[in-house]
Each structure stands twice: as C-alpha cells, then as structure tokens.
C-alpha cells in the first residue's frame, strides 16, 4: 500500500465533503428538530416536559463522550466501517424507540443506542475530512457544517408532517429509515493512507502522545471555554426576547434569521480561512473575540433594530468560528493523529457544553433577567480566545504547513527507507 505525501485537496475529497454534509444534517439536524416530538411524548406518556427533554440530553451527552471511542476505532479500522456501524446503531435506536411503552425505554433506545451511533459517525467523518484537505481545509469544513443549519430548516416541518400522518410511532420508524442514510454516507469515506500514518502508531500511543502535547492541551482548554459560552444564546435568545416584550412569532423569526447568517458565516469563514496566510488559530481568535463582544453587548441593546443587528452579527460570527475551530487541530497535531485528537477534544469540550446552559439558567433565576447570562457567556468566549494566543506560531506570517512534513521526514530518516526526493517538495 502506497502512502500519500500530502492530502489530495480535492478529487474524492469533495465526495467526503458531501458525506460530511449529510452526516451533520442527519445527526445534528435530527437532534435540533427533536423538539417537535417532545410535545407528542409529553401527551403520550403523560410526563412533564423536563423529564422528556432528558432524551435529547442523554443523546447529546453519549454522542460527545463517546467521540473518543469512534476515534480509536477509526484509527484502527479506518473511518468507513466505523461510520457505517454507527449509522446502523443510530437507525436501530430509533426503530426500537417506535415500540416504546415508557419514557425509560426512550432514554435507552434514543438516548443511549442512537447516541452511541452518532458518536461513531460525526467525529470520524470530520477527522477524515481534515485528512483529505490541507489548502482548502477550512472551506471544506465550512461547507460540510452547513448541513446542520440547512437540515434544521428542513427537518422541523418534515417531522411535523410525519407526526400528522403517522403519529409518533410511525414517525420514529421513518426517522429511523432516514438515519439509515448515515450508512450510505459512511460508504463514501474511502480510506486514505497518508505518509504519517505508520509513524504515529496505534491509538493507544497516539492518545498518550496527545496528552503530553502542550499546544494540544491549551487548544482543548480554549475550545472548552468557547463551548461553554457558545450554546447559551441559542438556548436563551427566544426567552430573552420574550422577556423584553416580543411576541413568539417575531422572536422565532429572528432565530431563523440568525440561522441564515450562521450559514453564511460558516461558508465565508471557511473560504477566508484558506485564503488568509498564517495559522488558522488567529482567525479563530478573531471570530471568538467578536462573538464574545457581541454577547456582552446584548444586555445594552433594548431597541428592536439594535437587537436584530446584534442577532445577525452573532449568527455570522458564531457560525464563522465553527469551521476554523476544526481546522486548527490538524495544524497542531498533524493529520496522522487527527482521529484521536478530535475525539479527545469533543469529549472534553462537551463538559463546557453541558455546564453552559444550566449555568446561564441559574444566573437568570438568581438575577431575574438574562443580562448576567449573556455577559458570562461573552466572558467565557473571550477567555477562550485569550488562551488561543498561547498557541505556537501564533504571530508567524507564513503557514506552518511544514509541520506535518517535518514529523514525517524526521521519523522516516530513522525508520522507513523511502526515497527522499518525492517528499522534499512543498
């Protein structure tokens, strides 16, 4: 088996982008639109909304904490079999859920089983995407992540239509069929052998080396801080608007506007991340700082025009920081260790995500309005962007693309006798 020196940056890579697009749609789009099912579950099982919302919380938690498992398996077996298995698990969870007779049944089938399936799909796919691209990595990631936003638009009305025609049992059965497409997406992930792969070793060795890697740890801390503040506006924006006296329909409409600017931000930032020379971490810091500042400005804005402008800006900047957040990692640890690296980051950052929303809710209960919540969210984002400054090569002018090559040529001199001429190019 011949190893590539560099990621292909195109060719089959665009099919991987397509696969990642549908996967982010099928994993996060489904999760975000699940609220439509909640009303039905509350009525069908006669349980309070708080207990029903645990279904999604368990699913998200399992998806994030299980990410390292997906990473380790992908390093050993390649992303394709792992993602296809994940797709089958996710669909199986939904299928079993359609036979549910109690809420616990739903916790186990959707939360645990589908959540494990999602854990095995999303992280390996994004890591695989990073391996297929180097010069256009941010754009590819940005395009793939637009799947989340677009699917939220499409799935909410679709799920409502399914509920109207098949009731929740039939609708879950059909969502299971929809989730089976994750298997097809997995089939698209052709294995790619990069030159660094034999060098970095098995998953155990990779994880150990990552945990001792200073920049990686600092990046993880930064991402965790960012994640803590990131979700708060999504969760609390509508409630904040209602507090200010907005009607539910204009508030929901504003959220849709934010979703559109989020989409635009992702693609624009993806393109920008590749076009601007230098480490991508700088752009991440820029977007994170802007998002933090905007959040801190929220309590000041009372006028509708000000709120609309802030929300559009927030949508754009928070969408913009997502693709670059994923692009920084391969620059830090190299594409050889990307599976394990991404898995670890997802697992740790989920702590931030789990803490963020309840903390914000608690602040609101204590202070009476959302001012403190938004300011604290902004503070977390600014703290995260501050940690990013400590990353290596932050103030360099040229891109550190030589880094993965250095790793390779270093090790190759000592291990595998491959011809040097073929690798000396940039």
């Amino acid at each position: 088996m011949a190893y590539r020196a560099e990621p292909p940056d195109g060719g089959w890579g665009w099919m991987v982008v397509l696969s990642a697009f549908f996967q982010s749609a099928l994993v996060f789009g489904v999760l975000r639109s699940f609220g439509v099912f909640f009303v039905e579950f509350v009525a069908a099982f006669e349980e309070p909304a708080a207990r029903v919302s645990w279904i999604a919380s368990i699913g998200i938690a399992v998806q994030q904490f299980g990410s390292p498992v997906g990473s380790v398996l992908s390093t050993k077996f390649g992303p394709r079999p792992v993602v296809m298995t994940g797709g089958i698990l996710a669909a199986l969870g939904m299928l079993l859920a359609s036979f549910a007779t109690s809420l616990t049944h739903l916790y186990l089938s959707i939360g645990l089983l589908s959540g494990s399936g999602w854990a095995l799909t999303f992280t390996p796919t994004l890591a695989c995407l990073s391996r297929y691209f180097s010069r256009r990595r941010s754009l590819a990631t940005g395009l793939a992540l637009t799947g989340v936003g677009l699917s939220s638009f499409a799935f909410a009305p679709l799920f409502q239509w399914l509920l109207n025609h098949y009731a929740w049992r039939g609708a879950l059965l059909l969502v299971s069929a929809l989730s089976l497409h994750l298997v097809a997406c997995g089939a698209l992930l052709r294995p790619l052998s990069l030159a660094e792969d034999p060098v970095v070793g098995g998953p155990g060795a990779q994880i150990t080396s990552l945990l001792c890697h200073g920049p990686f740890l600092r990046y993880t801390i930064a991402i965790t801080l960012i994640n803590t503040g990131y979700f708060i506006p999504y969760v609390h924006l509508v409630a904040h608007l209602r507090d200010l006296g907005w009607d539910p329909l204009p508030a929901a409409f504003l959220l849709s506007v934010a979703a559109i600017s989020d989409l635009v931000g992702r693609v624009a930032s993806g393109w920008l991340g590749d076009a601007v020379p230098g480490p991508v971490a700088r752009l991440l810091m820029l977007w994170t700082t802007l998002t933090g500042v905007i959040l801190a400005l929220y309590p000041v804005a009372e006028v509708p025009t000000g709120l609309v402008a802030l929300t559009v800006a927030y949508g754009f900047t928070s969408g913009a920081l997502t693709p670059v957040a994923f692009s920084v990692l391969p620059e830090l640890v190299g594409t050889g260790k990307i599976y394990c690296g991404l898995g670890l980051v997802q697992m740790v950052e989920s702590i931030g995500g789990l803490l963020g929303a309840p903390l914000s809710g608690y602040l609101r209960d204590v202070t009476g309005n959302y001012t403190a919540s938004f300011v604290v969210a902004g503070a977390f984002l600014l703290a995260g962007s501050g940690v990013l400054i400590t990353l290596p090569h932050f103030f360099c002018v040229s891109a550190p693309t030589s880094k993965p090559q250095d790793l390779v040529t270093e090790a190759l001199d000592t291990k595998v006798p491959l011809p040097e001429e073929g690798l000396g190019e940039d």
């Binding site: 011949a2 190893y3 590539r4 020196a5 292909p8 296809m84 109207n164 025609h165 098949y166 009731a167 049992r169 039939g170 609708a171 059965l173 059909l174 299971s176 069929a177 929809l178 089976l180 497409h181 298997v183 097809a184 089939a187 698209l188 052709r190 011809p419 001429e421 073929g422 190019e425």
Partner: protein
C-alpha cells in the same frame, strides 16, 4: 311607536318575574346600528347558567325619529311585550328583557327599526362551545387512545359520548365495559379512553356537554392505521439505502480495478529512474513527475 318618559333602567316587567328570578345574574348586551344596510349587526352571547338577559339596540336614523317603527322578534315569532323604546337626542334606544331559565328561552332575538328599509340587530343566545380536536387523531391497531373534549370557561352538568355511524349517533359506555372508560379530572373536560383499538373503531366521536340551558357538542376524529403502513415506507427507504451503498462500493471497486494493472508497471519504472537520477541531476522534472504519480496512489 311607544315612547316612555321613564329612564331605561326601570321596566314594565310582570311582577312575578321580578320576584321569582331576582337572584339570577344580570347580563347586559347592546348593539349599535346606523342607517347603513350593509353592516350586519349581530352579537353572539354565551350563556351557561340561567340568568336575566337585557338586550339593547341603539339606532341613529337619518330621518325623523318619530317615523321609525320598532319591533322585536324571537326567531320568526313577533314579541308583544317586555320591551321599551326611548329616545335621547338623535339616538333611538330599545331594550328587551328576558329571564332565561331553560333551553326554551335560548335562540335568536332580533330588534327591527323602520318599516320600508328595515334595520336589524340580532342577538344569538347560545350555550358554550365545546372544543374537541380539529386534526384527526392517528393511532395504531392494538394501541389505546384518550379522546379529550374541553370547555374553556364553563362547567357542564354532565358529559356523554357518542360514536357517529353516518348521521346516527350511538351512545358509548351504556353497557359499561373495559373497552371504553369515561373520566375527567376537572368538570370542564371529559376524557374517553379506548383500549385494544381495531380498525372498526375508526370514525368520528361526539362529546355532548349538558347544561341547564341546553346541550353543546364537540367532535374528535379517530384514524386507526395498521403497522404495515409506515413499515412499507420504512422497507422502501431501507432498500434504497442498500442500493446506494452497493452502488458506491461497486463504483469504487471498478475504479480501483482500472488503476491496478498500470500500477505495477509504474512501480518498476520508479526503481530504474532512481538509478538514473543519481547520476543525472538535470532532467529532474520528468522523472519527478512520474514518481509522484505512483506515490500519490
């Protein structure tokens, strides 16, 4: 035209009615009309309990007040008494009082002004409306379902359920059995629980709320599907996914087979070119290009 100098609040009502029903609540409603025939002057009044009802029509005629004839009707029947007419400035008032104690007094009361071009104001006295469900309820064979009828601000005396068989309504729960259970936590709602659903249970269900002043009904439509309906859709989509996976994997095998035979040739060439490179540094572009092709597989 009858005019009285007495103020509008004291009525020439029969004595028995005043003493008998003075403990009932008083409901006052009025309609204001002008000489514009296009405006339908109608008001819906919801009554739950027996009460004294006062209906006032106010009219601004274009011509002379004295030439306007005022009459009251209940449905099509002309009402003789219990009403008075008064005039203040250019506005003509007429008021009708009735003690509503049972369903016979419910219905439409209309005041009429004028002879040639009659202006009409209508008061519709109704019992409260019941809300069933507008969208049909979808259930599956073997499931159980709860049908709910609610009344927002009213407390009916009793609830009954019927199932609609065409235009005939058959009462439910008359021989009490396990299949149908009628319950209700609060007086303003009723719940009908049906267990062991089968496709025969499909159709419209009517809930009747009984008030002192009449009956009101709501309806819920029930649809019972068999599991095969979504299952067929599921199998179709699953088959499509299997097909997609097969196409993707076969395409990959096909493209790999195309590359394989030429691969061996290029690798052998690479070894030979290395020997040439060491001695000949000038022709770097040619061999380098080919070497990259074989490495980049």
């Amino acid at each position: 035209m009858r005019t009285k100098a007495a103020p509008i609040t004291s009525l020439p009502v029969r004595e028995e009615m005043t003493t008998k029903y003075s403990n009932l609540t008083l409901e006052s409603h009025s309609i204001s009309m002008t000489e514009r025939p296009n405006m339908p002057a109608e008001k819906n009044i919801t009554l739950e309990r027996p009460s004294n009802v006062e209906l006032t029509c106010q009219f601004t005629p274009s011509g002379n007040l004295n030439s306007v004839n005022v009459t009251w009707k209940k449905g099509d029947k002309l009402l003789e008494d219990n009403y008075l007419v008064n005039a203040t400035g250019s506005i003509l008032y007429t008021q009708y009082r009735v003690a509503v104690i049972n369903s016979k007094q419910m219905g439409s009361y209309s005041c009429f002004f004028g002879e040639k071009k009659q202006q009409r104001g209508t008061f519709n006295l109704k019992v409260p409306e019941i809300n069933g469900k507008n969208k049909p309820l979808i259930t599956y064979v073997g499931d159980s379902v709860v049908l709910i009828c609610k009344c927002q601000d009213c407390l009916p005396l009793n609830w009954t359920w019927y199932t609609g068989n065409g235009s005939v309504q058959v009462p439910i729960g008359v021989p009490v059995n396990d299949k149908y259970v009628i319950s209700g936590k609060h007086a303003n709602e009723t719940k009908l629980k049906i267990t062991q659903l089968s496709e025969d249970d499909q159709g419209t269900y009517w809930c009747h709320a009984i008030f002192e002043l009449g009956e009101s009904e709501g309806h819920v439509e029930l649809v019972v599907l068999s599991y095969l309906v979504p299952l067929k859709a599921f199998c179709a989509i699953a088959a499509e996914v299997v097909l997609l996976v097969a196409i993707i994997l076969l395409f990959e095998k096909y493209t790999q087979k195309k590359k394989k035979p030429s691969d061996d040739g290029k690798e052998i060439e690479q070894g030979e070119q290395l020997k040439l490179d060491d001695s000949n540094g000038i022709e770097n572009s040619g061999p380098r290009h080919r070497k990259n092709e074989s490495v980049g597989q």
